[in-house]
Structure formats: C-alpha cells, structure tokens
Subunit: 343 residues, 2 copies
C-alpha cells in the first residue's frame, strides 16, 4: 500500500530531482503524477525507469491525492497550496511563500522533525537551499555548545536560480570561447568567470532577501536566539552551494570535538584532512545526499570560536531531498494518511 | 633625470604588469631592464610601446641599478634580494620571503607609507594580494571607529596562482566543452566550474598559509591589535579577488558614515546602489587600479558591526600597482636615489 503523490513544477530543476529522489528512495507510492503549467503540459519527465507525461495543474483534480510536493515558485504556491490542502493532501512546498507563516512548520528533518506534529494549514515549508545545509551542520554543534552568532559567506551555484541560471552560465561560457557577445538575461551581470554578490531582491537595510532568509529561517528551524549575518554570492558553478562559516558559541568547543560531533550527526559527512585535496569541493558534492563539512578549525579571534567549510547539492538537500525526507518523516510518524487505505 | 630600474620575474603575470604600470604611470626611468631565469632569457616583454628582451638574472650586473622590482617567488628573492640591495638598489619584493622580517617594512602606500623611512636591509615587502585590497578598505574605517575583529571570506581568482593558474582554468573549461579528460596540474582539484577552499600550504592549526598571511600582514601593516580570521577560497574567475568582510568596531559607525568615509579615502571607489547591478563584480574590476567597495551595510548581530564586499584586480593593487606605488612614495619622499645623479 502506498500514497498518491503529485509533484507540481515537475519540469523544473527541483521538480525533476523530486521525482528522481522519490524513485531512488523507493518512497511508497501507488501513483505519481507530474504537474506543471499549461505551457509545459505534455513534457515528459522521468520517475525512476518510468516516463510520466506532465499534466496541467489548473485542471487537475486533487481529491484523491495524499501528498503534494510543490516546486513551482511563490506565486503559484500562494494560490494553489491552500486549495490542494483543503482537499486533504499534505503539501510540502519548496517556495518561500509559507516559510514565515507561524502556522506552517519549516522543517529540516535532521533538525526539527518534531515540528511536523502541528500542521494547522496542511502545508509544510521546505527551507531555502543555503539554509538547509547550514542548519544540518549547526544543529549538533548547537546541542553541544550553544551557538550565539554565525557569520556566513556563501558561494551559491547557478542551479539555485533554476534551469535558466544553468543555461545562462553555459551559454555565456560558450560565447566567451567563440568570441560572441555575452548576453545577460537571467542574472543582472555576467556570471561566466565572474561572481555576483546579489541573490533575490534588495531590502531596506541593504541586505538581500536571500541573506535575510538565511537569518529568519535559521531562527525558525533551529533557535530564535541565534544571531546570523550572511553575504550571499552567486558563483560560476553549476551545482552545489558552498559556505564559509564562522560560529561563536556560549561554551568552549575544540575543533577535534566538533569533528567528532559532526561525524556522528545525521546527514553529515566530514572530509577534513588538512592536506591538499583533503576537503570537499562543490563539483564533488553534486548528486550526493550528504552535507559535507571540511576545514574545521578553531577561530581564536573570538571566545569559543570555530570556522568550517560546508558544501551540499542545492537541488537535493537544499530542495528535493529535504522535501522527500519531510514526507518520509511524516509517513514514519503516522502523520501522512493514504486516502484509499483510510477509506 | 630618472632611475635605472630592473624588473625581476619579468615574464610572469605580475612582472609583465609591473612593466606595463611603470610605463602607464610614467615612472621616471632612464633605463628599464627585464630579468628572469635563464629558461626565459630572450623572451620579449612590453614596456609601454617598447619591447624589451629578457636577460638572465644570474649574470646581470646590478651595480648601477637604483630600483629593483622583484616578482620571482620566495626562493629567488631570499637568494637575490640581499645581494641586489648590497649593491645599493632598493628592492621592492612581491614574494612572502621578507614580509614578516621586523627589519623589512611591509607597505601599502595608502595605509603606512611612513614605514618606508626605515629600510634597514634595502628591501621593502609588497603584501599578499588579498591583504593589500583589504587594508586599503579597512584603514579609513579603523581611523574612524577602531577595528576590533574582522571575519573575511575570500573569492580569489586563478591569476593569483600565476600564469599556470589561468592556463589551467582555461584548459579545463575547454576540455569540459569538448568532452575531453579534465586534468589537474596546478590546482589539487578541478577549478573549472568549481571552488577550492585551499590556497598555499596547510598549517598546524588547520588554517592555510594564505589565511595566516592575511592575519599577520593586516596586523603588521595596519594595527597589531586587530584580530582577523579568514577563509581563503579559489574561484573560477581569471582576474580580481573579491572578499566578503564583516568588521566589529570599538566605536559606533553607521553604514552611511562608512560609505562617506570610504568615498573620501585614497585608492577606493564606492559602488553601492542597493539595486540589481549596483555593485562591482571581479570581471569589472580587472584592469582597474581602485579597490571597489559595495554592499556596505550594518551588521546588527554584533555591537558596532559593518559588512561589505571588496573587489580589486589582484595583479594590480594586489601586486604590481602596489609595488610601483611604493616606488613612487619613496621617490616623492626623497628616499629613492638615482646613482648617476648622485655621482
């Protein structure tokens, strides 16, 4: 017995990854449907070794859907998630539309799976990609030594901006090598062989929304007392986000202790040899599930300070994998009901 | 009347840039000679609209050289700088060989030109590329509000690793687009569409030498009381280093005040519009002299905190330009004598 699952936004980077991860992890499904806008209707997408034909979201009948994985952007989610939830499906949404709603849990299963017990609106929010991997790394350290403040600089891949972002890096790189004009469409400046210190919109205080999200989401998922300041930068890498992280703790913690704690923590792989190549790069983390931690060292410029390097596949732990893990955590806790079984 | 100038390491990235900047800024020269290893003997390099044939360092007679700009690596500098200085030339060295010697001033003219008055060994050290642009930015802020601690994450271009670094990014990118094997020679992991969180050798405490240099050099150039912690990362960008910087001050300072102070400071261009494109990217800073500051904002996670983004051409301000500026500062202060004039 399994669930009827709808994946909305099935033709995007994250939607395709959701389908692939559902199959890979053998999530119990009686039926999986791929949904997208009318524009993408008919597009074929893979679910394991099956091929699904994408159907139109706006004419689909959700009445016997148990679980809906949404990755269709904030506007679509604001309109559709409540309607789908009203028909009795649990919606796990990858956009930022519901993340800051106090009645919607924002969940990274390794960190706060218990928040899934209270889903008033039938919607669970998936965090921002940069936040997901960071809180996986911070949680076990916070449990041990209580985090006061985090300073993070990100190195975010173009796939975080969707398929268009990947296409733009590819197109611009080719143009540079064929002496053609480099055109900027998706990003405000050239991204090929360049960096853009700006992701999402600018806010009043000079921070970008992406930077604000990392602060707000870390507080909601992990602990509202944690102070976090971020600089978010787009880099010419296709997949995986990387982060240079400095943490100040209440209690003392050595680099060796942190390494042991992180090694034992769920979802984490420590690769930290202090020699050339003894660390993880984003290219190596692409396609992997783990959050990789390298370069763990004491930061003696502050009391109880640590620094580390954190890399994870932004389409997987940062999006699709985390959404499927939320569904698994709900199923395991008996919080996800199959309508057919119930009937 | 001008000086006789020798540029050692004239065929490298920085050596070529030194020659080009000497010409560009019309540094008073009666004669400029290009020197390099025997291997590069005969290689032609440009000095303004002239072409110089590179001569061998080890057979060159320095007796009437007034000024020697060295960019030939630490080992060559350790051997040759004292010999050249003993013949009465001022040596401005771009390697790390002399930077931490208490008898050798380490100078960024905008910050500590007064240190040039005391050159016991006849050698002046040019700082590490990442440090030079950072102290240009920190100096005016330190004068105003006294810096306590700096957290910096770098995004360093491959040209910082020399011509071989640029060739490797180029070669690997082409290989990826022509479905050939990607080979790693210069860097320990692939750099094309990837990041490497490791520059220079690893040290006992888990920091890299590049990270240690930023701390040690900022203390020596600006103020030994400043605490600085760095994460240095190589990025697939050809020219210009970028830095995400968080600073904690003794006294309060607002983002607006910082912007005004930086606008008025020497060597700095502020580009900070808080809108898409309203900041500088490394590609735009390449070939420019300024240290560019963008994304200036208050960091409310700490008392008197500021964050900003700092970009500069690592071959110019980070190396060749700073060396020529040191020579200019010495000439202007009467600290650089022309032997012919003196005779």
């Amino acid at each position: 017995m399994g669930y009827k699952i709808a994946v909305v936004g099935a033709t995007g980077n994250v939607g395709r990854e959701m389908l692939s991860i559902l199959a890979e992890r053998a999530f119990p499904a009686d039926e999986v449907v791929a949904l997208a806008s009318r524009r993408s209707q008919g597009t074929e997408v893979s679910y394991g070794d099956k091929t699904l034909k994408t159907k139109a979201l706006d004419t689909y009948d959700f009445s016997d859907v148990d679980l809906c994985l949404m990755s269709a952007g904030g506007e679509v989610s604001k309109e559709w998630s409540p309607q789908i939830a009203a028909q009795g499906a649990v919606v796990i949404d990858n956009s930022s539309a519901w993340r800051y709603d106090p009645e919607v849990p924002l969940v990274v299963p390794e960190v706060n799976a218990e928040a899934l017990r209270d889903i008033k609106k039938g919607i669970v929010a998936n965090p921002n990609c940069s936040t997901a991997q960071l809180v996986v790394a911070l949680k076990p350290l916070h449990d041990r030594a209580t985090i006061k403040r985090v300073v993070v600089a990100t190195y975010q891949s173009v796939s975080g901006a969707g398929k268009d972002g990947m296409d733009e890096l590819d197109r611009q790189t080719k143009a540079l090598y064929s002496l053609q004009d480099v055109q900027e469409k998706k990003f405000p400046k050239r991204i090929a062989f360049n960096l853009i210190p700006h992701i999402d919109v600018f806010m009043e205080d000079g921070y970008t929304k992406e930077e604000w999200k990392m602060t707000a989401e870390t507080k909601k998922i992990l602990d509202p007392k944690i102070k976090l300041t971020a600089t978010c930068v787009r880099v010419p890498v296709f997949i995986s986000h990387s982060e240079a992280v400095n943490v100040e703790f209440e209690q003392p913690i050595t680099a060796d202790e942190a390494r042991e704690i992180l090694r034992a923590a769920p979802g984490i792989m420590v690769v930290d040899k202090r020699e050339p190549g003894g660390y993880i790069t984003p290219h190596e983390a692409a396609g992997e599930d783990a959050t990789y931690i390298s370069r763990i060292r004491e930061d003696i410029t502050v009391e109880n300070g640590l620094a580390f390097w954190c890399v994870s596949d932004n389409l997987r732990k940062g999006a699709a994998l985390n959404a499927v893990q939320i569904a698994e955590a709900m199923a395991n806790r008996g919080l996800l009901k199959a309508k057919k079984q119930a009937a």
